[in-house]
């Protein structure tokens, strides 16, 4: 289990005006590790993910992702984002492009792949998420769960080293939640480093290597899932778990 550190946050602070969102976050994730972030709404989990691919700049602290210093002023932002993939709660597929074009857009435009290369890999990925028959469909014609799976394939097409999932099942019907969770399970099983923000406690317990409980912009407790879920030490963790489980 002694894989190199891939993500490192040290004492990261972020405020919007006088609202402090992150108040000194420190965590580290190794390669191929699955880290789950749980906690009440507004505790800064999404913001934390967004600082890792520079969607949100931080006020202070040290962030290193795949050997790149994210908090450095001269950061090559698109370069960073080639290493980190992000899946959003609202899928954010491009409505004017077909499923296939959604997936091949970035590999062609950013990685410089040829159309054949990109499409071949896209079809492969679509098969892995069981949507190869929907290549020509448009996002408006797909269900929420299907759109989310396409979004995951779209991010995977860039061959990132880290995948981040920001409450990706929160907007889905219960029936479709399962199919998306299965997809995430497959991604994790393939050895990808995953950072997952989720409310699905059972899923987190089953899949995570490390669970982080955040509250009020700080990491209150962290550890192996068995530890956190059955014997939480901090009263805040206990209260939260009582509410959701």
């Amino acid at each position: 289990m002694s894989q190199p550190l891939q993500i490192q946050l040290e004492d990261v602070h972020k405020s919007y005006g006088d609202q402090a969102i992150l108040q000194g976050i420190s965590l580290s994730v190794r390669r191929s590790e699955i880290a789950c972030l749980i906690g009440p709404s507004g505790s800064g989990k999404s913001t934390l993910l967004r600082t890792l691919n520079a969607l949100t700049p931080v006020d202070s602290g040290r962030i290193e992702v795949c050997g790149i210093r994210v908090d450095a002023p001269q950061l090559d932002v698109p370069g960073l984002r080639r290493h980190v993939g992000m899946i959003f709660q609202s899928y954010n597929l491009f409505p004017h492009l077909s499923v296939l074009d959604n997936i091949t857009l970035a590999p062609i435009q950013v990685l410089g792949q040829s159309r054949q290369e990109a499409e071949a890999y896209a079809v492969e990925l679509l098969a892995k998420v069981s949507l190869e028959h929907k290549q020509g469909a448009f996002p408006g014609q797909l269900s929420g769960g299907q759109q989310q799976r396409v979004a995951i394939a779209r991010s995977l097409a860039m061959c990132p080293e880290v995948m981040m999932f920001d409450e990706v099942t929160a907007a889905l019907d219960p029936e479709t939640v399962k199919e998306v969770l299965n997809t995430i399970r497959d991604v994790a099983a393939s050895g990808m480093t995953c950072l997952i923000v989720t409310h699905e406690m059972r899923f987190a317990r089953e899949i995570a290597d490390t669970v982080y409980f955040t509250d009020g912009g700080r990491i209150v407790e962290q550890g192996e899932p068995e530890l956190i879920f059955s014997r939480p030490s901090d009263p805040r963790t206990q209260r939260f778990l009582e509410r959701v489980l």
Binding site: N53, L55, P78, G79, L80, R81, R82, V84, G85, M86, F88, S90, N92, L93, F94, P95, H96, L105, A106, Q109, V110, A151, R154, S155, M158
Partner: protein, 267 residues
């Protein structure tokens, strides 16, 4: 139902047969009236019909000027509109300022400006190129219209949810490519109705070239009128101009309003 419909509601008996005959009689009366007027003014109508080929050439110039002006306005305006959402502060401020300047200048003044300041010929590739007057006027109108296109483009871009920008950014697409490949294609649809309205306005504004001596519809008409000193010709002649523009502009205007309604209902 709009409040207007509520206000105009009243109980009306459905007497369809008598309404049909009433309408038929009205239509007949109007047709007879029109024919009588046409007969009375047959010499004027004949004269106008005589002039029609020349007038049609003039109107064709109006339409050409409108197309050229709209092309120039779209090119410059799209660039300005994209710059208005740039992350470079200086570029953005310059684009915003230029857009406001162009939108707040009367079109006739801008046309005057361009006509006076553009040379009538310039040297390039070892020969002298002439810029005809109508082209100068079109470019002037294009400049005037570009401010409006810039605002249309800016509005369209800003109507796309931030989530789309973020999704493109997360895929490592740089901002300019995101704008070109993800944002603008989606924004295009909402930009079409106001763009069409602007085209109508620009085409109508080409009549201002008359004040510059360009041989468009009204200039051609006025040249012919000076040869025929009949005071009772003036009214029908200018009515002719009305009709020409109306026939061209009204369908486009209706269609753009139809599109606007259709697309706003859809989304």
């Amino acid at each position: 139902m709009s409040p207007l419909t509520l206000l105009s509601q009243r109980i009306r008996p459905q007497a369809s047969a008598s309404r049909f005959w009433g309408r038929a009689v009205l239509l007949l009366a109007v047709s007879v009236g029109l024919l009588a007027v046409a007969w009375a003014y047959r010499d004027i109508i004949g004269l106008l019909l005589n002039w029609t080929p020349a007038l049609a050439r003039g109107f064709a110039l109006n339409i050409l000027m409108g197309v050229v002006a709209m092309l120039a306005a779209t090119l410059l305006g799209t660039l300005l509109g994209c710059l208005q959402v740039s992350l470079h502060r200086r570029l953005r401020q310059a684009a915003v300022l230029l857009t406001q300047l162009l939108r707040n200048a009367p079109w006739l003044v801008v046309v005057f400006l361009v006509m006076n300041l553009l040379p009538f010929e310039f040297k390039a590739l070892d020969r002298w190129w002439q810029i005809p007057d109508w082209l100068k006027a079109s470019l002037g109108l294009g400049l005037a219209g570009s401010g409006y296109v810039s605002e249309i483009v800016r509005g369209g871009i800003r109507s796309i949810p931030v989530a789309q920008w973020e999704a493109a950014a997360s895929l490592a697409l740089p901002r300019r490519k995101s704008l070109r490949l993800v944002i603008l294609p989606q924004a295009l649809r909402s930009m079409v109705p106001p763009w069409m309205s602007l085209y109508c306005a620009v085409t109508m504004a080409t009549s201002l070239a008359n004040l510059m001596g360009v041989e468009e519809l009204m200039t051609t008409l006025q040249l012919r009128l000076t040869g025929e000193p009949r005071p009772d010709l003036l009214l029908p002649a200018y009515l002719y101009v009305f009709v020409a523009f109306f026939i061209y502009i009204y369908p486009i205007s209706r269609y753009s309003r139809y599109l606007e309604r259709k697309w706003s209902l859809n989304s």
